[in-house]
Symmetry: C2
Subunit: 112 residues, 2 copies
């Protein structure tokens, strides 16, 4: 929770928004591609109903992960890097203290 | 509810089961074909999430419609005929009183 009270400069907000939107577009593009491939392979009712579950999970992932509140943004970025949807370089332009917090989350996640 | 207490002979049960299974296979086949066509046409996230809703509705339709309890079967058959999933001739072999009840439901539905 120690990321809640950071100040975000206009240029940091711009960087953050660009990184966030790019990761969201990448995530959605991956899901659409995977969905279409799964759908094309469907040949039984059970396989089709599995896709309903798959879509529900993916929608939940998107809704829960892509939270653009500034109080959440650093943990969101760490999660996106962890999930392969964001490259650390896309955060270049954020203040060093913010980047350190993101790296802290990542170190913690990678410890598991 | 006046269909609850009919006696079903072994040969009627066989006819009923065959008609029911054929209608279920037809319904599922239609849904799979429509699903694959919709999925192939998806190009946006919103269109993809719409398919989750579509699958949920179709699963609900299947679960609610295909009720093989003998107490429900005559109204089920009427519904399947009404929905174009069963031809009246597929019920040939059921006793005339049962067929009359099915026709009664259909007359009622077609009045709407």
């Amino acid at each position: 929770m120690y990321s809640q009270h950071h100040h975000w400069s206009p240029s940091e907000k711009k960087t953050a928004r660009r990184a966030f939107d790019a990761a969201l577009a990448l995530a959605l593009g991956k899901i659409i591609a995977e969905f279409k491939s799964k759908a094309a392979a469907v040949s039984t009712p059970d396989a089709m109903w599995d896709i309903e579950d798959y879509l529900r999970q993916q929608r939940k992932y998107i809704d829960e992960t892509f939270d653009y509140r500034y109080s959440q943004l650093l943990v969101v970025f760490a999660r996106l890097i962890f999930d392969g949807l964001l490259q650390p370089e896309q955060l270049a332009g954020l203040a060093e203290d913010k980047l350190q917090i993101v790296r802290g989350y990542l170190d913690f996640a990678n410890r598991d």
